[in-house]
Each structure stands twice: as structure tokens, then as C-alpha cells.
Symmetry: C2
Subunit: 147 residues, 2 copies
Amino acid sequence: MTQAEYPTTDDLVTALRARGQRVTSQRLAVLRELRRRGGHVTAHAVYESVRAELPGTSSPTIYAVLELLSELGLARKLDLGLGSALYDARVEPHGHTVCRRCGAVADLDGGFDPDGAVAAARAGGFAAERVELVVAGVCASCAARRQ
Amino acid sequence: MTQAEYPTTDDLVTALRARGQRVTSQRLAVLRELRRRGGHVTAHAVYESVRAELPGTSSPTIYAVLELLSELGLARKLDLGLGSALYDARVEPHGHTVCRRCGAVADLDGGFDPDGAVAAARAGGFAAERVELVVAGVCASCAARRQ
DNA sequence: ATTGGTGCAAATCCTTTGCAATAGC
DNA sequence: GCTATTGCAAAGGATTTGCACCAAT
């Protein structure tokens, strides 16, 4: 497993300043929370945690901030068909495994070449910005539990 | 672009018989519709079309049939974060490009090795069943239109 | 002082559920 | 005839929207 690298609040402040946007406590708290959890968090989970720190924070704000962080490249939204989207503070290109039984999501390092995918897309005139690899199946513990 | 290969209604009849499930007009119509459209269709679009052929067909049935087809390996569900899932009758492993501006989805052939991803997942004890590669960015026509 | 962000409430939209009626075997 | 499948109506849940207030610049 490679060492995960997460964006800092300084990164966020810099990115916001660069776009003339405001630094708010909610924005800082959401990024901190994403980092603290270490990946694959629902908007609702972020909402609950941030609310503990900043009571009164609303769920539309959480969604807005998460979208902003994704635009800024400080978070990544994962649509894995689990009912709700997941957000990941680890922004380096990497894949994910999703267990069909328990819904567990895990990082998948290696096994594919993001640059190859980007090149293939460009060959079709497509300007690639983000690559996501998803492997669906059954995780080790589910396979052990229910044969 | 490789020649796409789509499951036939015979494939569906065979698969249903093998599992002791019933062959219904709705199931046949949904598969035919997926094939006719040629990929990347919403449940709602399938619903509208099947309804034209089989009036009275309900939307819960469409969802149930699409899920069944996915289980049987005769369709593939794509969760691309577009608000609604897409269904694809082309079941061979292949990637997709998704335009952030217009939402257009296109097949992406080549540029990655599904077997590598499966092997990487297996190395972590994960039994891979399905691999999906998504490249997000801006499509050629959006790039041309709005610079 | 400005105005971008936030909170609140409500709406929207996709998808699933419960149950009676129907149609495939 | 038996029972899986369907249709209907309604619920559920994630996410978005509109608007008034607040707080970062």
C-alpha cells in the first residue's frame, strides 16, 4: 500500500484565495474531517461529524463544500452505486474495490495505468481530467463468512 | 472502435430457464430495447420505450428487470454520477468517457488492461467480478463549442 | 459596506417497497 | 393450480433549490 497523501487546510486556503473565494470555518472543517476519516465517506457522515464541531451547519452546505473541494481538486467524488456518493480526500489517481455483499470500499493500488486511459481518451478527442477504476466483486471477509 | 456484441433474447431465455425463472414479455422487451438503443440508457428511457410497446408496464418492473439482467450478465449498470444510473447491453469489459459539461457518455476501448486490475484486486483477497474504468473530462464537441 | 456563503424549509428526482392481481409454468 | 412477476400507489432517501440572514473580505 502506498503512503496516502492528503491535501492540507493550507492547500485549501491557497486555492480559495487564488479564486477570490472566502475561507469559511465550514470549508475548513469539511476538509479536516475528510482527512481525519481517511477516505470513502458519505456526505451524511461528514455532515454528522462537522455538525458536532460546528453546530448548526446544514446539509446543503456540506454538499456545496464537497462539490467545491472536488472542483478544486482537493477531494474526489466517488459514484459507486451505493445509494449515496462517497468522498475521498486522497486525490492521487487510484482504483477502488467495492464489495457487492457488504458494500465495503477499499483502495486499489496498481493494476492499471492511468496514463494509458488518458491517452486512449485523448485519441478520441476527449480531454481527460480524472480517471476512476472500479472493481466490483466480493471482499475477502464476505467470502470467508458466507461461502 | 471494436464491433460491439450484444446479448440476444435467446441468451436471456436460456439464462432464465437455467435459473428456473419465467420468460415474460417485459423481460424480453427490456433486453430488446437495450440492444436497439445500443448503450448508455437510463431506466426512464427504457421505461418510455417499453411502455410504447407494452402499455401498462410499470417503472418498478423496469428497475427489477434491469437489475435481473445485470445479475445475469446480460446488461451492465453504470453509476457515473449523472443523477440516474445508465444501463448498457454491451457487456464485454470496456471503459467510458463522461463529459463534465454535457454529460455525454461514450465507449472507451483500449487504454487499460482489465486483467491487471482483476489481478491487483485478487492480490488483496478480493474476488473481482466486474471492472469499470471511467474517464471524466470534456468531450470534443463541448471543447469546440465553448472554448 | 459588499456580496458570497450559509441555514432553513421545501421540493425534486431516482429508486425501492408492500400488497393485490395476473400470467407463466 | 401454483407462485413468480407484475402494476399500482406510496414511501424512502439522496441531493438540490429559493430565499433571507450572516459573516468574510
